[in-house]
């Protein structure tokens, strides 16, 4: 199948029903999207599909043919970090940072739809992303800061 990932075309031989996450990580070496649960409940694998956050671990790769997929490797443009990444860096948000790519992707999706989200809206949009280190207050701060740019 042909997939459009980070504005680049890939031809991949995926198994029927194979998850987009597996294709990204194990066939294309795009390992920025993480495995955390395999059931869409932790958010570590979040990517954008046509601009909307999606859990790539429960998204069959075949359903994304013809759609525009953006992964964490594709949010920075021409070597310049995305505003959300910059805000996360400034907030020094992370501890182990395994959740970081998924958090960034969910936040990019949110701000793409709602430029100035309220705290409640941020919490609702990020509820599916687990940070086991508990850095939520700093992530919240980073998203609010990115929204105000």
């Amino acid at each position: 199948m042909d997939l459009l990932i980070n504005d680049k075309k890939y031809n991949v031989a995926a198994e029927p029903g194979e998850s987009l996450l597996n294709v990204l990580r194990n066939r294309l070496d795009l390992t920025g999207s993480k495995y955390g649960c395999g059931e869409g409940s932790c958010g570590a694998c979040t990517v954008l599909i046509d601009g909307t956050a999606a859990r790539s671990c429960i998204t069959p790769a075949g359903t994304t043919v013809g759609k525009k997929i953006i992964t964490i490797e594709g949010v920075a443009k021409n070597g310049e970090l995305h505003a959300v990444q910059k805000a996360f860096l400034r907030a020094d948000a992370f501890q182990c940072a395994y959740c970081a790519p998924g958090m960034v992707m969910s936040a990019v999706s949110l701000l793409g739809k709602t430029a100035s989200p309220s705290e409640t809206q941020i919490k609702a949009a990020m509820q599916g992303n687990i940070c086991r280190c508990g850095t939520y207050p700093r992530i919240m701060k980073a998203i609010q800061e990115a929204a105000n740019i």
Binding site: K34, C37, T135
Partner: protein, 709 residues
């Protein structure tokens, strides 16, 4: 254990101790410079054993706290330490310490961590030991390097040493304006110097780099997805490995038919007794092959969650504790007291659930083995590999890439060992990444426990009797900080039916919960404010300081609590850190308890990085919310029933309260670690707030797995 605790207040406790290997440097002087290039190297061990790195084959005790600092010809500083970065941001704080003493910009420092071939032995990253033990040692090593560099410049310039100073990676002379990069001084030389134990280090009130909020040094690589966790790594010709797991704890394999799996294209099956794994270049194929194995198991009887507490009581071993005279009778003091509490607490097993599950990548080259794995004990994993493969550990290199967290849950190296066993048969590199279900089931848990407390106080509010019996949780945090003469405190180990081990704060999460709950309820009986009651019974000024700081920020006792809301307070101390926590909760009609507002005051001596300390404290409180309110491992007949994030609830954005952190900076007190102790206060503070709001006294952790009923 007792003796060790007395010598060292932050010694690791039972679940952290493992028999360590005798230490040998894997790198001697010749290959040290061979690998690093020429320059200046500072080496040391705890106790400053003479000639440490020079001899190449000395045996050191298990407490060796060693590191090397090397300065190359370009002035690049490389620090080698066996510590593991698992999100506590030790890479940053140790860099700060070296930058401070050596007066080099922090971006000129590279920290090489957790690599058994490159770093000196370190028995593991646990017990909040990196800052109090490795920190001062590195500080001395960097200061020693600084002094030697000043000596070298003075001699080269034939200048008065007192006229020289070091700044921004250069030795400079005030009057002449002369300057030389430290790399130019060391270029082409092979100088190996031991640390000077008496070298002057920068006092806390003159810190410029330590004590500031330096951001995570390699933060960007995580935010762009560039950092390769073990689970992200790949080698040419690598195979993916999947392991056959038993259906239940204690199950033994009766039969396994591997023929169908074996006949699949591109699949290799490795069998070694009950150890069965499948390999394929394609992870999907490996998964299918695993499913194709037909097995029969014998499943023994096994305790379930609904019987675990009876089991723990019934199978308790001989007690150990600070007051081990079990014949002593403290009953009369209890019976005759003005107020009494007699309570039993039940603590569930909980999971660390690090977001990166266990992962290992292994490669054999002849009889030499390299394993990459996310572990808090790279040298421990090396030792385990040497044992299971019966090869000298000099033939084994374990590398620990910065890891997707641990919280005490990654002291082991299962995935690395499995990958190595599979790779040996395959003759190709093998990666094993555990699924979330495997991580929830076959890693280890924070111990379950039963805690029985009998306590009494006089009408003036003095605690008079304290009996505390802990079954299986562990001894950490079991001592009471309150002054009480008549006490008996005992810990009864149990052979746990589920695999258990270290957890953030260890048993202190359970022991402090029980203690602070009882203290709360005694205060209520006495009609005393729970803060006043605690302060009255405390002698430790540092504990009083955090309690008062938290109460002040929280406006404890000053503002009226809203209807349906309640407030609670708790405090604790472990591993050289002091924490006090105030919580305000509200209850809803649905039985949900919402934690509205939390204030935590924490003191761990001199603060190395305030930003990262605040982050650790917030993180500990939020992680602690899970264990306090809803996290538990459900199991029946040896099967884990909730091994998924969809069934095992962890704290999420919506659970995050308004969270204020007060950090007390005691520059006069050596820095302690901070990764664990801030977790201690949140569970009892919430529990006591629920009592305040509803009158309901809860005695379990988690408090409300099914909501407030």
């Amino acid at each position: 254990m007792k003796e060790q605790k007395e010598k060292d207040p932050i010694a690791p406790e039972q679940y952290e101790l493992r028999s360590p290997p005798p230490y040998e440097f894997s790198m001697n002087r010749r290959n040290f410079f061979g690998v690093l290039g020429s320059g200046l190297a500072i080496t040391f061990t705890l106790g400053n054993l003479p000639g440490a790195a020079l001899s190449g084959a000395e045996t050191y005790n298990e407490d060796s706290v060693a590191a090397w600092i090397h300065i190359n010809g370009e002035g690049k500083v490389t620090v080698y330490s066996g510590k593991a970065e698992v999100g506590q941001n030790i890479r940053t704080s140790l860099s700060q310490i070296v930058a401070e003493e050596l007066h080099v910009p922090i971006d000129k420092i590279t920290m090489v961590l957790g690599d058994t071939a490159l770093t000196p032995y370190d028995r593991g990253t646990f017990g909040s030991r990196s800052i109090p033990y490795m920190g001062p040692q590195l500080r001395k090593a960097a200061a020693t390097a600084r002094e030697i560099l000043l000596d070298m410049a003075a001699s080269e310039w034939k200048a008065d040493r007192a006229s020289l100073f070091i700044e921004a990676g250069e030795i400079r002379q005030r009057a002449s304006g002369k300057a030389i990069n430290i790399g130019q001084l060391t270029k082409g030389k092979q100088l190996m110097k031991p640390v000077n134990d008496n070298v002057p280090v920068t006092p806390g009130d003159q810190w410029k780099v330590t004590g500031t909020s330096v951001p995570k040094v390699n933060g960007e690589s995580f935010l762009t997805g560039k950092h390769k966790f073990t689970s992200d790594m790949a080698l040419p010709d690598m195979l993916h490995g999947k392991m056959l797991r038993p259906p239940a704890y204690g199950a033994t394999l009766l039969s396994a038919d591997i023929s169908a799996a074996k006949s699949m294209k591109g699949v290799t099956v490795v069998r070694d007794g009950d150890f069965i794994g499948v390999l394929a270049a394609d992870l999907m194929v490996a998964g299918k092959a695993l499913k194709a194995i037909k097995t029969e198991w014998k499943i023994p009887e096994h305790p379930s969650r609904d019987t675990i507490f009876e089991f723990l009581k019934a199978h308790a071993e001989k007690a150990e504790g600070s007051d081990n005279d079990s014949s002593r009778d403290i009953a009369s003091g209890f019976d005759n007291a003005a107020v009494r509490e007699s309570q039993t607490f039940y603590i569930d097993y909980i999971a660390h659930a690090p977001l990166e599950p266990r992962a290992g990548l292994a490669q054999w080259s002849g009889n030499k083995l390299t394993v990459w794995t996310g572990t808090q004990r790279p040298f421990g994993v090396q030792e385990d590999l040497a044992e299971v493969f019966n090869i000298p550990k000099e033939n084994i290199r374990v590398i620990q890439p910065d890891t997707g967290s641990g919280y005490g849950g990654k002291h082991t190296g299962e995935a690395g060992i499995e990958a190595a066993r599979l790779a040996r048969d395959a003759g190709r590199p093998v990666k094993v990444v555990w699924t979330r279900e495997e991580e929830f089931t076959w890693a280890y848990f924070r111990p379950a426990g039963v805690i029985e407390v009998k306590a009494a106080a006089a009408s003036d509010g003095a605690v008079t009797t304290w009996e505390f019996q802990n079954y299986n949780s562990g001894g950490s945090g079991i001592e009471t900080p309150y002054a009480v003469a008549n006490k008996k405190i005992q810990f009864h180990p149990v052979a746990s039916p589920l695999r258990q081990g270290s957890y953030r704060g260890l048993a202190a999460t359970a022991n402090v919960f029980a203690r602070e709950s009882v203290m709360n309820d005694l205060a209520l009986q006495l009609n005393m404010d729970p803060l006043t009651f605690r302060l009255k019974n405390l002698k430790d000024e540092r504990m009083k300081d955090v309690l008062e700081a938290a109460a002040r920020k929280f406006n404890w006792g000053e503002s009226k609590v809203a209807a349906g809301h309640g407030v609670g307070i708790a405090c604790g101390s472990e591993k050289g850190g002091y924490v006090a926590t105030c919580a305000e909760i509200s209850t809803g009609d649905d039985g949900e308890v919402k934690v509205e507002r939390v204030v935590v005051a924490f003191e761990c001596g001199a603060i190395i990085n305030p930003g990262h300390l605040e982050n650790q404290i917030q993180g500990a409180v939020i992680q602690g919310l899970g264990g306090a309110l809803f996290e538990y491992i459900d199991f029946k007949d040896g099967r884990i029933l909730n091994p998924f994030f969809s069934k095992y609830r962890v704290p999420r954005f919506g659970d995050t309260p308004q969270l204020d952190v007060v950090m007390l900076n005691r520059k006069d007190i050596p820095s302690a670690g901070a990764g664990e102790t801030p977790i201690l206060g949140i569970a009892p503070a919430i529990r006591n707030a629920i009592v305040d709001a509803t009158g309901k006294k809860l005695y379990t952790l988690p408090l409300i797995p099914k909501g407030l009923t």
